[in-house]
Amino acid sequence: MAFHKRVLRSLGNGPARRNLFGPVDREQLQQDYHTALMQDLEEASRRWGFNFLTEKPLDEGDFLWEGVAGAKVPRVYRSSTLRKGLQCSVEPTSLSEAAVSTETGSTSAGAAPSPVQSGKENVPGTPERNTNSLRDLERTPEKRSANSNMLKRKQTNITDFYQAKRRVVGTPRKSGQ
Protein backbone atom coordinates (compact mmCIF):
# COMPACT_ATOMS: atom_id res chain seq x y z
CA MET A 1 0.00 0.00 0.00
CA ALA A 2 1.19 3.49 -0.74
CA PHE A 3 3.16 5.02 2.08
CA HIS A 4 1.00 8.08 2.46
CA LYS A 5 -2.17 5.98 2.47
CA ARG A 6 -0.79 3.90 5.28
CA VAL A 7 0.17 6.97 7.28
CA LEU A 8 -3.01 8.88 6.72
CA ARG A 9 -5.28 5.91 7.25
CA SER A 10 -4.62 6.14 10.96
CA LEU A 11 -6.58 9.35 10.88
CA GLY A 12 -9.43 8.07 8.77
CA ASN A 13 -12.89 7.48 10.09
CA GLY A 14 -14.94 5.77 7.46
CA PRO A 15 -16.53 7.73 4.63
CA ALA A 16 -15.40 11.33 4.22
CA ARG A 17 -18.98 12.41 3.91
CA ARG A 18 -20.08 12.85 7.49
CA ASN A 19 -21.35 15.31 10.03
CA LEU A 20 -18.77 15.74 12.77
CA PHE A 21 -20.42 17.55 15.62
CA GLY A 22 -24.14 17.01 15.29
CA PRO A 23 -26.81 19.46 14.23
CA VAL A 24 -25.94 23.10 13.69
CA ASP A 25 -27.89 25.79 15.53
CA ARG A 26 -29.03 27.70 12.47
CA GLU A 27 -30.51 30.66 14.31
CA GLN A 28 -27.41 31.16 16.38
CA LEU A 29 -25.28 30.79 13.28
CA GLN A 30 -27.20 33.49 11.47
CA GLN A 31 -26.96 35.75 14.47
CA ASP A 32 -23.22 35.16 14.81
CA TYR A 33 -22.80 35.85 11.14
CA HIS A 34 -24.42 39.27 11.40
CA THR A 35 -22.55 40.11 14.56
CA ALA A 36 -19.26 39.17 12.93
CA LEU A 37 -19.95 41.25 9.86
CA MET A 38 -20.97 44.24 11.95
CA GLN A 39 -17.81 43.88 13.97
CA ASP A 40 -15.74 43.88 10.82
CA LEU A 41 -17.57 46.92 9.59
CA GLU A 42 -17.06 48.82 12.81
CA GLU A 43 -13.43 47.94 12.79
CA ALA A 44 -13.10 49.12 9.23
CA SER A 45 -14.93 52.33 10.11
CA ARG A 46 -12.49 53.05 12.88
CA ARG A 47 -9.54 52.17 10.75
CA TRP A 48 -10.54 54.33 7.81
CA GLY A 49 -12.49 57.08 9.57
CA PHE A 50 -15.44 56.38 7.34
CA ASN A 51 -18.93 55.15 7.99
CA PHE A 52 -19.48 52.54 5.32
CA LEU A 53 -23.17 52.19 6.02
CA THR A 54 -24.10 55.80 5.54
CA GLU A 55 -21.12 56.28 3.22
CA LYS A 56 -20.04 59.37 5.10
CA PRO A 57 -16.63 60.27 6.45
CA LEU A 58 -16.40 60.28 10.22
CA ASP A 59 -15.54 63.48 12.00
CA GLU A 60 -12.45 62.13 13.64
CA GLY A 61 -10.03 59.90 11.82
CA ASP A 62 -6.61 59.81 10.27
CA PHE A 63 -7.87 60.34 6.75
CA LEU A 64 -9.23 63.28 4.87
CA TRP A 65 -11.90 62.03 2.53
CA GLU A 66 -12.42 63.61 -0.83
CA GLY A 67 -15.24 62.91 -3.23
CA VAL A 68 -14.60 61.35 -6.61
CA ALA A 69 -17.21 61.04 -9.32
CA GLY A 70 -18.53 57.50 -9.22
CA ALA A 71 -18.11 56.86 -12.91
CA LYS A 72 -14.40 57.57 -12.69
CA VAL A 73 -13.95 54.64 -10.38
CA PRO A 74 -13.51 51.25 -12.05
CA ARG A 75 -16.70 49.24 -11.98
CA VAL A 76 -15.21 46.53 -9.84
CA TYR A 77 -14.97 48.90 -6.95
CA ARG A 78 -18.41 50.34 -7.33
CA SER A 79 -20.20 47.04 -7.28
CA SER A 80 -18.31 45.54 -4.39
CA THR A 81 -18.88 48.56 -2.19
CA LEU A 82 -22.56 48.40 -2.80
CA ARG A 83 -22.73 44.67 -2.40
CA LYS A 84 -21.10 44.99 0.93
CA GLY A 85 -23.76 47.48 1.91
CA LEU A 86 -26.42 45.14 0.69
CA GLN A 87 -24.96 42.24 2.55
CA CYS A 88 -25.08 44.01 5.86
CA SER A 89 -28.72 44.71 5.16
CA VAL A 90 -28.69 47.79 7.27
CA GLU A 91 -29.41 50.23 4.53
CA PRO A 92 -31.58 49.11 1.64
CA THR A 93 -28.94 50.13 -0.86
CA SER A 94 -29.78 48.51 -4.10
CA LEU A 95 -27.28 47.24 -6.55
CA SER A 96 -26.09 49.93 -8.82
CA GLU A 97 -24.92 47.61 -11.53
CA ALA A 98 -28.42 46.43 -12.15
CA ALA A 99 -29.42 49.98 -12.67
CA VAL A 100 -26.60 50.65 -15.04
CA SER A 101 -27.45 47.70 -17.20
CA THR A 102 -31.12 48.58 -17.22
CA GLU A 103 -30.37 52.02 -18.49
CA THR A 104 -27.90 50.76 -21.00
CA GLY A 105 -30.23 48.09 -22.21
CA SER A 106 -32.70 50.68 -23.36
CA THR A 107 -30.18 52.27 -25.68
CA SER A 108 -28.07 49.40 -26.84
CA ALA A 109 -30.85 46.84 -27.21
CA GLY A 110 -29.51 44.62 -24.48
CA ALA A 111 -26.10 44.24 -25.96
CA ALA A 112 -24.46 44.95 -22.67
CA PRO A 113 -24.03 41.89 -20.49
CA SER A 114 -25.79 42.16 -17.21
CA PRO A 115 -23.05 42.52 -14.64
CA VAL A 116 -25.38 40.95 -12.12
CA GLN A 117 -24.78 37.62 -13.76
CA SER A 118 -21.09 37.94 -13.26
CA GLY A 119 -20.85 34.30 -12.27
CA LYS A 120 -19.46 35.08 -8.87
CA GLU A 121 -20.53 32.59 -6.31
CA ASN A 122 -20.49 34.96 -3.43
CA VAL A 123 -23.17 37.40 -4.41
CA PRO A 124 -25.89 37.21 -1.81
CA GLY A 125 -29.42 37.06 -3.14
CA THR A 126 -30.68 38.54 -6.35
CA PRO A 127 -30.25 42.27 -6.42
CA GLU A 128 -33.36 44.28 -7.10
CA ARG A 129 -33.40 46.42 -10.13
CA ASN A 130 -33.69 49.94 -8.97
CA THR A 131 -33.03 52.88 -11.17
CA ASN A 132 -32.85 55.25 -8.26
CA SER A 133 -29.71 53.60 -7.08
CA LEU A 134 -27.85 54.96 -10.03
CA ARG A 135 -27.93 58.32 -8.37
CA ASP A 136 -26.64 56.73 -5.21
CA LEU A 137 -23.82 55.31 -7.21
CA GLU A 138 -22.85 58.42 -9.04
CA ARG A 139 -23.03 60.70 -6.10
CA THR A 140 -19.80 61.31 -4.34
CA PRO A 141 -19.54 60.80 -0.62
CA GLU A 142 -18.36 64.34 -0.07
CA LYS A 143 -21.28 65.95 -1.79
CA ARG A 144 -23.69 63.58 -0.23
CA SER A 145 -22.68 64.52 3.23
CA ALA A 146 -22.97 68.18 2.37
CA ASN A 147 -26.45 68.41 0.85
CA SER A 148 -27.78 65.04 -0.03
CA ASN A 149 -31.41 66.08 -0.27
CA MET A 150 -30.74 68.60 -2.96
CA LEU A 151 -28.65 66.19 -4.94
CA LYS A 152 -31.35 63.62 -5.12
CA ARG A 153 -33.33 65.85 -7.37
CA LYS A 154 -30.52 67.37 -9.36
CA GLN A 155 -29.14 65.64 -12.42
CA THR A 156 -25.61 66.65 -11.62
CA ASN A 157 -24.13 63.41 -12.70
CA ILE A 158 -25.57 62.95 -16.14
CA THR A 159 -22.15 63.24 -17.72
CA ASP A 160 -20.75 60.70 -15.34
CA PHE A 161 -23.51 58.38 -16.28
CA TYR A 162 -22.78 58.90 -19.93
CA GLN A 163 -19.22 57.77 -19.36
CA ALA A 164 -20.33 54.72 -17.52
CA LYS A 165 -22.76 53.85 -20.25
CA ARG A 166 -20.16 54.13 -22.92
CA ARG A 167 -17.93 51.71 -21.15
CA VAL A 168 -20.68 49.17 -20.73
CA VAL A 169 -21.63 49.26 -24.38
CA GLY A 170 -18.01 49.00 -25.41
CA THR A 171 -17.26 45.94 -23.35
CA PRO A 172 -18.92 43.20 -25.40
CA ARG A 173 -17.43 44.50 -28.60
CA LYS A 174 -13.95 44.10 -27.21
CA SER A 175 -14.36 40.58 -25.97
CA GLY A 176 -17.08 39.36 -28.32
CA GLN A 177 -15.83 39.54 -31.87
Binding site: S10, L11, R17, N19, L20, F21, D32, Y33, D40
Partner: protein
Protein backbone atom coordinates in the same frame (compact mmCIF):
# COMPACT_ATOMS: atom_id res chain seq x y z
CA UNK B 1 -16.21 11.62 -41.01
CA UNK B 2 -13.37 10.69 -38.72
CA UNK B 3 -12.99 14.15 -37.45
CA UNK B 4 -15.81 14.30 -34.92
CA UNK B 5 -14.54 11.13 -33.30
CA UNK B 6 -11.12 12.59 -32.96
CA UNK B 7 -12.55 15.67 -31.41
CA UNK B 8 -14.46 13.65 -28.91
CA UNK B 9 -11.44 11.70 -27.97
CA UNK B 10 -9.50 14.87 -27.49
CA UNK B 11 -12.20 16.26 -25.24
CA UNK B 12 -12.26 13.15 -23.16
CA UNK B 13 -8.54 13.30 -22.68
CA UNK B 14 -8.60 16.92 -21.73
CA UNK B 15 -11.22 16.39 -19.13
CA UNK B 16 -9.03 14.59 -16.67
CA UNK B 17 -5.73 16.23 -17.39
CA UNK B 18 -4.54 18.80 -14.93
CA UNK B 19 -2.54 21.32 -16.83
CA UNK B 20 0.51 22.08 -14.82
CA UNK B 21 3.11 24.71 -15.43
CA UNK B 22 6.69 23.61 -15.59
CA UNK B 23 8.86 24.43 -12.66
CA UNK B 24 10.18 27.90 -13.17
CA UNK B 25 13.91 27.98 -12.44
CA UNK B 26 13.65 31.71 -11.83
CA UNK B 27 11.43 30.96 -8.88
CA UNK B 28 12.83 27.76 -7.47
CA UNK B 29 16.52 28.13 -8.04
CA UNK B 30 16.78 31.72 -6.92
CA UNK B 31 17.94 32.34 -3.41
CA UNK B 32 16.15 35.66 -3.18
CA UNK B 33 12.80 33.91 -3.42
CA UNK B 34 13.77 31.60 -0.58
CA UNK B 35 14.97 34.52 1.51
CA UNK B 36 11.73 36.42 0.93
CA UNK B 37 9.70 33.40 1.96
CA UNK B 38 11.76 33.10 5.13
CA UNK B 39 11.24 36.77 5.88
CA UNK B 40 7.48 36.78 5.52
CA UNK B 41 6.53 33.32 6.78
CA UNK B 42 6.14 34.39 10.42
CA UNK B 43 3.44 36.86 9.50
CA UNK B 44 0.98 34.10 8.84
CA UNK B 45 1.53 32.06 11.97
CA UNK B 46 -0.98 31.78 14.77
CA UNK B 47 0.69 33.29 17.79
CA UNK B 48 -0.85 31.63 20.78
CA UNK B 49 -2.19 28.22 21.69
CA UNK B 50 -5.80 29.28 21.46
CA UNK B 51 -7.20 26.36 23.41
CA UNK B 52 -5.96 27.98 26.60
CA UNK B 53 -6.91 31.54 25.86
CA UNK B 54 -9.65 31.96 23.32
CA UNK B 55 -11.65 28.79 22.95
CA UNK B 56 -13.99 27.46 25.64
CA UNK B 57 -15.99 24.91 23.72
CA UNK B 58 -13.37 23.63 21.30
CA UNK B 59 -10.81 21.13 22.52
CA UNK B 60 -7.64 19.90 20.82
CA UNK B 61 -9.19 16.58 19.85
CA UNK B 62 -11.92 18.46 17.98
CA UNK B 63 -9.34 20.27 15.91
CA UNK B 64 -7.89 16.90 15.07
CA UNK B 65 -11.32 15.63 14.10
CA UNK B 66 -12.05 18.50 11.77
CA UNK B 67 -8.50 18.48 10.37
CA UNK B 68 -8.79 14.77 9.65
CA UNK B 69 -12.05 15.30 7.89
CA UNK B 70 -10.57 18.13 5.84
CA UNK B 71 -7.65 15.96 4.84
CA UNK B 72 -9.99 13.19 3.78
CA UNK B 73 -11.97 15.59 1.63
CA UNK B 74 -8.73 16.77 0.01
CA UNK B 75 -7.63 13.19 -0.61
CA UNK B 76 -10.94 12.20 -2.08
CA UNK B 77 -11.12 15.27 -4.28
CA UNK B 78 -7.46 14.96 -5.21
CA UNK B 79 -6.77 18.53 -4.23
CA UNK B 80 -3.37 20.06 -4.71
CA UNK B 81 -1.10 19.22 -1.81
CA UNK B 82 -0.96 22.79 -0.57
CA UNK B 83 -4.68 23.14 -0.14
CA UNK B 84 -4.89 21.19 3.10
CA UNK B 85 -2.08 22.87 5.07
CA UNK B 86 -3.21 26.26 3.82
CA UNK B 87 -6.78 25.59 4.94
CA UNK B 88 -5.50 24.51 8.34
CA UNK B 89 -3.52 27.73 8.55
CA UNK B 90 -6.74 29.67 7.95
CA UNK B 91 -8.56 27.59 10.54
CA UNK B 92 -5.90 28.18 13.21
CA UNK B 93 -5.69 31.87 12.52
CA UNK B 94 -9.45 32.19 12.73
CA UNK B 95 -9.72 30.19 15.94
CA UNK B 96 -6.97 32.29 17.41
CA UNK B 97 -9.15 35.41 17.25
CA UNK B 98 -12.75 34.23 17.35
CA UNK B 99 -14.34 32.11 20.05
CA UNK B 100 -16.26 29.42 18.24
CA UNK B 101 -18.81 26.80 19.22
CA UNK B 102 -17.99 23.27 18.28
CA UNK B 103 -21.19 23.12 16.23
CA UNK B 104 -19.65 25.64 13.85
CA UNK B 105 -16.31 23.92 13.57
CA UNK B 106 -17.09 21.77 10.57
CA UNK B 107 -18.64 24.72 8.76
CA UNK B 108 -15.46 26.60 9.46
CA UNK B 109 -13.33 23.76 8.18
CA UNK B 110 -15.38 23.67 5.00
CA UNK B 111 -15.04 27.42 4.55
CA UNK B 112 -11.26 27.20 4.99
CA UNK B 113 -11.06 24.43 2.40
CA UNK B 114 -13.24 26.45 0.08
CA UNK B 115 -10.93 29.45 0.34
CA UNK B 116 -7.66 27.53 0.17
CA UNK B 117 -8.88 25.61 -2.85
CA UNK B 118 -9.83 28.81 -4.62
CA UNK B 119 -6.40 30.20 -3.96
CA UNK B 120 -4.40 27.19 -5.07
CA UNK B 121 -6.39 25.30 -7.66
CA UNK B 122 -7.38 25.91 -11.22
CA UNK B 123 -10.56 23.96 -10.61
CA UNK B 124 -11.53 24.76 -7.05
CA UNK B 125 -13.90 22.79 -4.86
CA UNK B 126 -17.46 23.96 -5.23
CA UNK B 127 -19.65 25.04 -2.36
CA UNK B 128 -22.16 22.30 -3.07
CA UNK B 129 -19.55 19.61 -2.99
CA UNK B 130 -18.24 20.79 0.33
CA UNK B 131 -21.74 20.89 1.79
CA UNK B 132 -22.23 17.34 0.62
CA UNK B 133 -19.11 16.29 2.50
CA UNK B 134 -20.59 17.70 5.69
CA UNK B 135 -23.49 15.36 4.98
CA UNK B 136 -25.46 18.48 4.18
CA UNK B 137 -25.30 19.68 7.76
CA UNK B 138 -24.49 23.10 6.33
CA UNK B 139 -26.00 24.92 3.37
CA UNK B 140 -24.20 26.58 0.47
CA UNK B 141 -25.52 29.92 1.61
CA UNK B 142 -24.02 29.46 5.06
CA UNK B 143 -20.74 28.50 3.49
CA UNK B 144 -20.73 31.64 1.36
CA UNK B 145 -21.82 33.82 4.26
CA UNK B 146 -19.06 32.54 6.48
CA UNK B 147 -16.53 32.81 3.75
CA UNK B 148 -16.88 36.55 4.12
CA UNK B 149 -16.57 36.37 7.87
CA UNK B 150 -13.39 34.31 7.71
CA UNK B 151 -11.91 36.59 5.08
CA UNK B 152 -12.64 39.57 7.30
CA UNK B 153 -11.13 38.01 10.40
CA UNK B 154 -8.01 37.00 8.51
CA UNK B 155 -7.86 40.53 7.12
CA UNK B 156 -7.87 39.10 3.60
CA UNK B 157 -4.32 37.87 4.08
CA UNK B 158 -4.88 34.62 2.32
CA UNK B 159 -1.60 34.01 0.53
CA UNK B 160 -0.01 32.45 3.58
CA UNK B 161 3.33 30.70 3.27
CA UNK B 162 3.03 26.94 3.67
CA UNK B 163 5.73 24.30 4.15
CA UNK B 164 5.18 23.27 0.54
CA UNK B 165 6.59 26.58 -0.63
CA UNK B 166 9.97 25.47 0.69
CA UNK B 167 10.10 21.90 -0.51
CA UNK B 168 11.54 22.52 -3.96
CA UNK B 169 14.08 24.98 -2.63
CA UNK B 170 15.28 22.46 -0.10
CA UNK B 171 15.36 19.51 -2.48
CA UNK B 172 17.31 21.57 -4.94
CA UNK B 173 20.06 22.18 -2.42
CA UNK B 174 20.56 18.60 -1.31
CA UNK B 175 22.75 16.08 -3.14
CA UNK B 176 19.86 13.72 -3.79
CA UNK B 177 19.78 10.93 -6.34
CA UNK B 178 17.64 12.04 -9.27
CA UNK B 179 15.61 8.85 -9.36
CA UNK B 180 14.58 9.20 -5.71
CA UNK B 181 13.43 12.82 -5.93
CA UNK B 182 9.77 12.24 -6.56
CA UNK B 183 9.56 9.64 -3.80
CA UNK B 184 11.24 11.98 -1.31
CA UNK B 185 8.90 14.76 -2.37
CA UNK B 186 5.88 12.53 -1.90
CA UNK B 187 7.00 11.42 1.54
CA UNK B 188 7.79 14.97 2.61
CA UNK B 189 4.34 16.05 1.48
CA UNK B 190 2.78 13.29 3.52
CA UNK B 191 4.69 14.43 6.60
CA UNK B 192 3.56 17.99 6.05
CA UNK B 193 -0.06 16.87 5.91
CA UNK B 194 0.46 14.79 9.01
CA UNK B 195 1.94 17.79 10.84
CA UNK B 196 -1.03 19.94 9.86
CA UNK B 197 -3.39 17.55 11.64
CA UNK B 198 -1.44 17.91 14.88
CA UNK B 199 -1.79 21.13 16.80
CA UNK B 200 1.69 20.93 18.32
CA UNK B 201 3.07 21.94 14.92
CA UNK B 202 0.65 24.82 14.37
CA UNK B 203 3.02 27.50 15.58
CA UNK B 204 6.18 26.18 13.96
CA UNK B 205 7.42 28.21 11.02
CA UNK B 206 6.56 26.48 7.74
CA UNK B 207 10.23 26.41 6.76
CA UNK B 208 11.01 24.33 9.83
CA UNK B 209 8.23 21.87 9.12
CA UNK B 210 9.45 21.65 5.53
CA UNK B 211 13.07 20.98 6.49
CA UNK B 212 12.01 18.54 9.19
CA UNK B 213 9.78 16.72 6.72
CA UNK B 214 12.46 16.47 4.07
CA UNK B 215 14.93 15.32 6.72
CA UNK B 216 12.54 12.66 7.94
CA UNK B 217 11.86 11.56 4.37
CA UNK B 218 15.54 11.25 3.50
CA UNK B 219 16.28 9.33 6.70
CA UNK B 220 13.19 7.19 6.32
CA UNK B 221 14.20 6.15 2.83
CA UNK B 222 17.68 5.39 4.13
CA UNK B 223 19.37 7.46 1.51
CA UNK B 224 22.03 8.33 4.06
CA UNK B 225 23.62 4.93 3.54
CA UNK B 226 24.81 5.73 0.07
CA UNK B 227 25.58 9.41 0.33
CA UNK B 228 27.82 10.65 3.15
CA UNK B 229 26.54 14.20 2.97
CA UNK B 230 23.07 12.90 3.81
CA UNK B 231 24.22 11.04 6.87
CA UNK B 232 22.66 12.07 10.20
CA UNK B 233 24.31 15.22 11.45
CA UNK B 234 25.61 16.16 8.02
CA UNK B 235 22.09 16.22 6.72
CA UNK B 236 20.81 18.28 9.64
CA UNK B 237 23.53 20.84 9.14
CA UNK B 238 22.88 21.00 5.46
CA UNK B 239 19.16 21.47 6.01
CA UNK B 240 19.67 24.03 8.74
CA UNK B 241 21.84 26.09 6.44
CA UNK B 242 19.20 26.14 3.72
CA UNK B 243 16.58 27.76 5.91
CA UNK B 244 18.82 29.54 8.45
CA UNK B 245 17.47 27.42 11.27
CA UNK B 246 19.31 26.33 14.40
CA UNK B 247 20.50 22.77 13.96
CA UNK B 248 19.08 21.76 17.34
CA UNK B 249 15.66 23.19 16.59
CA UNK B 250 15.61 21.42 13.30
CA UNK B 251 16.66 18.14 14.84
CA UNK B 252 13.99 18.29 17.47
CA UNK B 253 11.40 19.16 14.85
CA UNK B 254 12.44 16.20 12.75
CA UNK B 255 12.31 13.94 15.79
CA UNK B 256 8.81 15.13 16.56
CA UNK B 257 7.75 14.39 13.02
CA UNK B 258 9.26 10.91 13.22
CA UNK B 259 7.49 10.34 16.50
CA UNK B 260 4.20 11.48 15.04
CA UNK B 261 4.79 9.14 12.12
CA UNK B 262 5.48 6.21 14.41
CA UNK B 263 2.34 6.75 16.42
CA UNK B 264 0.32 7.20 13.25
CA UNK B 265 1.59 4.00 11.77
CA UNK B 266 0.90 2.19 15.01
CA UNK B 267 -2.62 3.57 15.10
CA UNK B 268 -3.05 2.67 11.48
CA UNK B 269 -2.02 -0.87 12.17
CA UNK B 270 -4.28 -1.18 15.18
CA UNK B 271 -7.17 0.20 13.27
CA UNK B 272 -6.49 -2.24 10.49
CA UNK B 273 -6.40 -5.18 12.86
CA UNK B 274 -9.57 -4.03 14.56
CA UNK B 275 -11.36 -3.75 11.25
CA UNK B 276 -10.17 -7.15 10.17
CA UNK B 277 -11.24 -8.67 13.45
CA UNK B 278 -14.64 -7.09 13.16
CA UNK B 279 -15.02 -8.34 9.62
CA UNK B 280 -13.96 -11.79 10.71
CA UNK B 281 -16.41 -11.83 13.59
CA UNK B 282 -19.19 -10.74 11.34
CA UNK B 283 -18.28 -13.32 8.77
CA UNK B 284 -18.02 -16.02 11.41
CA UNK B 285 -21.46 -15.21 12.75
CA UNK B 286 -22.81 -15.56 9.26
CA UNK B 287 -21.04 -18.88 8.84
CA UNK B 288 -18.70 -17.77 6.06
CA UNK B 289 -15.44 -19.59 5.60
CA UNK B 290 -13.25 -17.33 7.73
CA UNK B 291 -10.04 -19.01 6.73
CA UNK B 292 -10.14 -17.86 3.14
CA UNK B 293 -11.52 -14.51 4.09
CA UNK B 294 -8.74 -13.64 6.45
CA UNK B 295 -6.26 -14.51 3.75
CA UNK B 296 -7.87 -12.32 1.19
CA UNK B 297 -8.01 -9.50 3.69
CA UNK B 298 -4.42 -9.53 4.66
CA UNK B 299 -3.40 -9.39 1.05
CA UNK B 300 -5.78 -6.56 0.21
CA UNK B 301 -6.11 -4.59 3.39
CA UNK B 302 -7.65 -1.51 1.79
CA UNK B 303 -10.68 -3.47 0.78
CA UNK B 304 -11.75 -4.15 4.32
CA UNK B 305 -13.37 -0.81 4.66
CA UNK B 306 -15.22 -1.42 1.44
CA UNK B 307 -16.58 -4.66 2.83
CA UNK B 308 -17.86 -2.81 5.85
CA UNK B 309 -19.63 -0.33 3.65
Amino acid sequence: MERPEHNMELLCLEKDTVVRAQQDPNVFFDDRVLQSLLTIEERFLPRCPYFNHVQQDIKPFMRRMVATWMLEVCEEERCEEEVFPLAINYLDRYLEVVETKKGCLQLLGAVCLFLASKLKESRPLTAEKLCLYTDNSITSQELLDWELVVLGKLKWNMAAVTPHDFIEHILHKLPLPEDKLSLIRKHAQTFIALCATDFSFAMYPPSMIATGSVGAAVCGLQLDRTERALHGDNLSELLAKVTNTEVDCLKSCQEQIEQLLRSSLRESQEKQQRLEQEALNRAASKGVDTQSMSQSQSSTPTDVRDINL
